[in-house]
């Protein structure tokens, strides 16, 4: 037997402990004393994890971590295992779900061990085993009996591992459940079999039922045939009655018809003929009336149309206007209108032109007179406009020459004046101007130039300009040149005069020459001479204008002649168009044609009138036909109706028709009655017999109805028989369906097999339950009682009058511990907390002892305040149990209670302060 003894723990970081070390644990019985919240239970938990491994869910392990960042806990445990030094380095990572990771390693006598090896060294220790067996919490002791695991602990101890999930009692319960299910199944199947047997019995009855059904079908067949025969006989009888029934009324009908015919008398054949068609006659007359109305209306319409077109009826009636004719007329009328219009337009144009020519003639005459023409200037000026325009240029030149001459002559005058001045002022000679020319001369020269230039503007301008120039020249003082210069100045002036005279002469000559040219030109044109120099240009211009007018006039006259010719031709065409139109109209008997421009409208009216005439003609013809047709219908009696009006005639015809209808009706009835009588009376002697028995219609009808009732009754009975037969046939068919029986038998066989299986299964389960119950009971007694006995012995040592502990089962298989002391029997749940705690403590220690023996290793027992529920009387005993246990297993007692510590010390416990 090996023994693990803890000597110390170090570097414990677990729960509230941070690198905590606790020495001095190397004693068989250690009492660790610490106040509340000092980490006693935490230290115990660390020892449990380190020795037994991790267990428990994440929720309970969370309290041992430092923080979420550091979920690693651990420490070191030092001790001895059977004398060999053992150091276990515990490293646990607490996960968020599941058990913490077990990262233990150990060194045992120099040999490295991992977690699995540690477990093996401790005899295959699993965490649950160490927790369940070697960790005793005082707070749980009082409720241990109600804990789910207690019964399992007791029972499964027998299987060697408290951590095993196998619970034989639970398995037994499962078998019992299956047994109940198998039993129910068997019963249900047996019920089904009983029901099936009934079905089979019914099916087996089929052959006998079949015979009976065949017999009944046969009997029903015979009866149906009898009924059918009887029905046929009655139907024949009834048919005979039906044939005979018409005789009586036929006879009566015949007599009646004869009487009526006699009363009505006869009607002649001709009237018969007419009466038969009275409807047609009335219809024909109605048509005649309608046609007459149509004719009246057509006459009115025609008259209106005729008046509108203004033509006599005889021209319109019977006249047709074809599309071609219409087109021809319209074309001719349009042509006529066009030609008339053209003629009017041409005439107007010609007249306008003629007036224009006359007006222009007058203007020419006036202009010519103004210019001095004494005769018609036409011949002289015709075509001379350009020449005259050209002459204007010559006139311009001439006028310029005149201006130049005038200017030159003005200079001569000026020179002469100058000389005169010079001469008259004999005194100091006039001084010469400082310049080459004296200022007055300069002014004079400038003025002459201006006069020459102004002659281009007007021949009248140079003269005043020259005068002003001279005046200024006289008035401008000449700077005195001194007495020597005055002679020179006079000489100069004389020379200048001479020059001026020469120039003036030359200019004048030129001017004269130009004037001669102009005059000659005018003479050549036979045009009046220019009256004045100043009017030269104007005169020539007027001549040119007159020449243009003459030329234009000549052209217009030519045009007028052309227009006159065209007008004549147009007139011819218009006349021809009118003649054609007239011809076309004359062909139609129309003497006159409508005014121009109105032909189309007139043509429309004409056409309308023609249509009305045609309609009138047609309606009249139709009226005649209808009248003829109507007259034909009444022709046979026409003489008799001669003096009557048509309404009277129709009335008469209608009366005859009614009479005829009545007569014919009675004749028909008589004929029908004759036919019936002929058919029936000749046929059968039985008719008389029947009529003798049933002399009138009512009796016959009654007899007929009676027969009908009999037939109906028999048919109803026959139908019922038919229905019965049908039902029986269906029943027979069902019964002869033996395949149904085969199906039932197959079902029966299946069911029998299922039942056999279910019963077999039930038997197997029954026997299994019995056997397992027996074995478990015995096994428990054999294997668990020692533990209970040990518990009992332990308790009796510390509580001599404890009594006996008996292990028994509740009705639902629950483990019960019973204390028997004298006649008192109390199950564990009925004990006081203290007694129960003590008993459970002893039991846990007994389990630990058992476990130790099986495992071969005495592991430390960790106790968390195991005496919490014990009173002072029982505490010494409890401590005694622990001390006793410590002889085999090291016991570590964690407590905050001084009294407990004292008791422990008294029992050899070593106290360590935390």
């Amino acid at each position: 037997m090996k023994r693990l003894q803890i000597s110390s723990v170090a570097d414990v970081t677990f729960g509230v402990h941070r690198d905590r070390s606790v020495d001095d644990l190397d004693h068989p019985f250690v009492c660790v004393l610490g106040p509340n919240e000092s980490g006693k239970s935490t230290l115990a938990e660390f020892l449990q994890w380190t020795i037994g491994g991790t267990s428990g869910r994440a929720a309970s392990a969370e309290r041992f971590i430092l923080s979420d960042d550091s979920r690693q806990v651990g420490g070191r445990l030092l001790g001895e295992l059977d004398g060999a030094a053992l150091e276990i380095a515990a490293r646990f990572k607490i996960l968020k779900t599941g058990s913490p990771n077990d990262g233990r390693s150990a060194l045992l006598d120099g040999v490295d061990l991992d977690a699995a090896a540690i477990s093996r060294v401790f005899g295959g220790l699993v965490p649950e085993d160490y927790l369940q067996i070697h960790r005793i919490r005082g707070a749980e002791l009082v409720q241990m009996g109600e804990a789910d695991g207690f019964s399992m602990l007791l029972t499964s101890f027998a299987l060697g591992s408290a951590g095993s999930e196998l619970n034989p009692r639970a398995r037994l319960g499962e078998l019992q459940t299956r047994l109940r299910a198998a039993d129910q199944l068997a019963r249900a199947l047996q019920r089904q079999e009983r029901e099936l047997r009934s079905e089979l019995a019914a099916a087996a009855q089929r052959p006998a039922d079949l015979d009976e059904i065949e017999t009944r079908i046969s009997h029903l067949g015979v009866r149906r045939r009898e009924l059918t025969a009887r029905i046929v006989d009655l139907q024949r009888e009834q048919a005979f009655v039906d044939r005979v029934r018409p005789i009586l009324p036929a006879r009566a009908a015949r007599a009646n018809a004869m009487a009526e015919l006699e009363r009505l008398g006869s009607i002649s054949d001709v009237w018969r003929e007419v009466a038969r068609v009275s409807g047609d006659i009335a219809a024909a007359h109605a048509e005649v009336e309608s046609a007459r109305s149509d004719v009246d209306r057509a006459e009115r319409l025609f008259e209106d149309a005729r008046v509108l077109v203004g033509l006599p009826a005889e021209i319109l009636i019977g006249t047709e206007l074809s599309i071609a004719d219409r087109g021809e007329l319209l074309d001719a009328a349009q042509d006529c209108d066009r030609q008339s219009q053209a003629l009017a337009d041409a005439t107007a144009a010609r007249d306008a032109l003629s007036r224009t020519i006359e007006e222009r003639d007058h203007e020419i005459r006036v202009a010519a007179a103004g210019l001095g023409f004494v005769s018609d200037p036409g011949t002289a000026l015709l075509g001379r406009e350009n020449s005259l325009r050209t002459l204007l240029t010559d006139v311009g030149i001439w006028l310029n020459a005149e201006s130049s001459a005038s200017a030159s002559e003005s200079v001569v005058t000026a020179r002469e004046a100058e000389i005169e001045v010079l001469t008259s002022h004999a005194g100091p000679a006039p001084t010469r101007s400082s310049g080459r020319f004296p200022p007055g001369v300069i002014v004079l020269i400038v003025g002459l130039i201006l006069a020459a230039l102004s002659s281009l503007i007007s021949p009248l301008v140079p003269v005043p300009v020259a005068f002003v120039t001279l005046l200024i020249a006289f008035l401008v003082p000449t700077p005195s040149a001194g007495p020597v210069a005055a002679d020179e100045a006079l000489e100069d002036a004389r020379r200048a005069l001479a020059d001026a005279v020469r120039q003036a002469t030359a200019d004048r000559g030129a001017a004269e020459s130009r004037a001669d040219e102009v005059r000659r030109a005018l003479d050549a044109l036979e045009a009046p001479a220019i009256p004045e120099l100043d009017l030269a240009r104007t005169h020539v211009e007027q001549l040119a204008a007159l020449a243009a007018m003459v030329t234009t006039q000549d052209s217009e006259r030519a045009r007028l002649a052309d227009m006159t010719s065209d007008l004549a031709r147009t007139e011819e065409r218009a006349t021809a168009a009118a003649a054609r139109l007239s011809e076309l109209l004359e062909r139609r008997g129309l003497a006159s044609s409508p005014p121009a421009g109105q032909f189309t409208e007139w043509l429309g009216r004409y056409e309308s009138a023609l249509r009305c005439a045609a309609q009138l003609t047609a309606d009249a013809a139709r009226l005649r036909r209808l009248e003829d047709a109507r007259d034909v219908l009444v022709a046979p009696v026409a003489e008799q109706l001669l003096d009557s009006s048509w309404p009277q005639r129709l009335t008469r015809i209608d009366e005859m028709n009614r009479l005829l209808t009545e007569i014919e009706s009675h004749e028909t009835r008589r004929a029908e009655a004759d036919l019936v009588l002929k058919t029936l009376e000749d046929e059968d002697d039985r008719i008389d017999e029947l009529l003798e028995e049933y002399p009138d219609e009512m009796a016959l009808r009654s007899f007929h109805d009676e027969l009908q009732q009999q037939i109906a009754g028999l048919e109803e009975e026959r139908d019922r028989s038919t229905a019965d037969v049908r039902e029986l046939e269906i029943e027979r068919e069902n019964l002869t369906d033996t395949e149904l029986l085969a199906g039932l038998l197959e079902r029966q066989e299946s069911l029998a097999e299922e039942i056999a299986d279910a019963i077999r299964s039930r038997t197997v389960l029954e026997r299994s339950v019995d056997i397992l119950t027996e074995v478990i009971d015995r096994f428990e007694v054999e294997n668990q009682a020692p533990a209970v006995k040990r518990t009992q012995d332990m308790l009796q040592e510390v509580v001599p009058d404890w009594g006996d502990i008996v292990l028994r089962r509740s009705t639902d298989g629950k483990v019960l511990l019973e204390r028997r002391r004298g006649s008192t029997r109390l199950v564990d749940t009925r004990l006081s907390d203290g007694a129960r705690s003590l008993m459970y403590l002893a039991m846990r220690l007994a389990f630990a002892a058992d476990d130790t023996e099986r495992r071969g290793v005495a592991l430390p027992i960790l106790c968390d305040d195991p005496l919490v529920h014990l009173d002072d009387t029982r505490r010494p005993g409890a401590i005694g149990l622990l001390a006793d246990a410590s002889r085999t297993n090291q016991v570590l007692l964690f407590t905050c209670d001084d009294a407990t510590v004292a008791l422990a010390r008294d029992n050899g416990g070593h106290v360590v302060h935390l």
Partner: protein, 392 residues
């Protein structure tokens, strides 16, 4: 030349329903199976005609029920008519299911059909094509529980080549009704060279010093009982020119077949493997069934490591397994699944352990009642071993 062969059939049980097709077969498929099962007799007639047999012997239980199912009787008459039309004589002995209680069956039969009487052994000679004259002798049951030793009545049969037709329980096999009992010695001692027997549904052929005695088995299996499983049909027996009988040869006539398929789960290490093993076994069986619809009783047996896992997941797993097997069987069906597997525990070693299971096994060993019923004992053992399987 036509063969000198005759056809030996028995236990037709015409009109008998199929027994237990299970509860997984739909109504249409069930009806189809029932219809097919009636075809076996038609196949018998066809084989007889095609093989040009010289005659046919029916050794009892032609009908399943004494009151004669009219439909079955109709089928029989039609078949007999066909044989008669083919010129093939038929010799019929009635058995315990169809004792000759009335003249009904001896009348209205086509020509060439002979029913053996109940009061004596009647014999008829048939000339085989090879010139051998075969004497066909037989006797019918007069009541269902025939207790007479009818074999003794054959002592007076004469002939050199004799076929004896008898519905009997040779050796008094307890699994069958012990009607018209006989022994092997009696069979061998009689003048009959070939015993055409009926009553036992398992096909058997035994040689005797003179010839053979044989049970052809029933014509169509009707359930997954052991005796109803496997190929069913008729025996064709050639008659040699020397007047002796060749070994009978089997010709299947069943239209559908019942089989027991046993799958040993010992090599299975994982639950999903189970279906592979099952389907392989099913496929092998189907191949042997020659395209016939197969109705199977599946047994999963053997000590297996997956016993606990299979038990735990059986409800769900079996659904898938049944689907797969049903699909594989096509026109057939899975009639039943038997679970006789158990955990792979060394039960002998377990007995030596001081554990509950060992105690249970020892208890079973010591039970005298169970000693007399090994099958029950085995089932109880399996139940308890599974219940106490520590791996579950």
């Amino acid at each position: 030349m036509a063969r000198s062969t005759f056809l030996h059939a028995a236990d037709l049980h015409l009109g008998a329903p199929l027994q237990s097709l299970g509860n997984r077969l739909g109504p249409e498929a069930r009806e189809e199976a029932l219809r097919l099962s009636r075809r076996a007799f038609d196949t018998l007639v066809r084989v007889a005609i095609e093989e040009e047999v010289a005659f046919v012997v029916l050794a009892g239980d032609v009908y399943d029920r004494a009151d004669r199912d009219p439909a079955a009787r109709r089928r029989v008459l039609l078949g007999l008519q066909s044989l008669s039309d083919a010129g093939i004589p038929v010799f019929i002995a009635h058995g315990n299911h169809d004792p000759l209680t009335s003249a009904e069956l001896s009348g209205d039969l086509p020509p060439g059909i002979t029913v053996f009487p109940t009061d004596r052994v009647a014999q008829h000679d048939v000339m085989m094509p090879n010139g051998v004259t075969v004497t066909v002798a037989g006797i019918s049951y007069e009541r269902a529980e025939e207790s007479r030793r009818l074999v003794e009545a054959f002592a007076g049969v004469s002939g050199s080549t004799v076929v004896g037709v008898l519905h009997t329980n040779v050796g008094g096999a307890s699994a069958h009704g012990n009607y018209a009992p006989s022994s092997v010695a009696e069979l061998e001692a009689s003048p009959v060279q070939y015993w055409a027997l009926g009553h036992i549904h398992d096909r058997q052929v035994h040689a005797t010093p003179k010839g053979w005695w044989a049970y052809p088995g029933n014509l169509q299996g009707r359930s997954t009982k052991a005796t109803e499983c496997g190929a069913k049909g008729v025996l064709l027996v050639d008659v040699n020119a020397a007047g002796s009988f060749a070994e009978p040869r089997f010709v299947p006539c069943d239209a559908l077949r019942f089989e027991r398929v046993t799958v040993d789960l010992a090599p299975v290490t994982d639950v999903p493997e189970v279906s592979d093993h099952v389907l392989t076994a099913i496929a092998t069986t189907m191949e042997a069934a020659d395209d016939r619809p197969l109705f199977v009783r599946l047994e999963l047996t053997g000590p297996t490591p997956v016993a606990a896992a299979l038990d735990q997941s059986w409800n769900d797993y079996s659904e898938g397994l049944i689907e797969e097997v049903t699909a594989a069987l096509g026109r057939g069906a899975l009639v039943k699944i038997l679970r006789t597997y158990r955990p792979a525990i060394d039960l002998i070693a377990e007995r030596r352990r001081e554990r509950l299971l060992g105690k249970v096994l020892l208890r079973l060993d010591a039970d005298p009642e169970l000693a007399e019923d090994p099958a029950l004992r085995a089932e109880i053992e399996r139940t308890l071993v599974a219940a106490l399987d520590g791996s579950r």
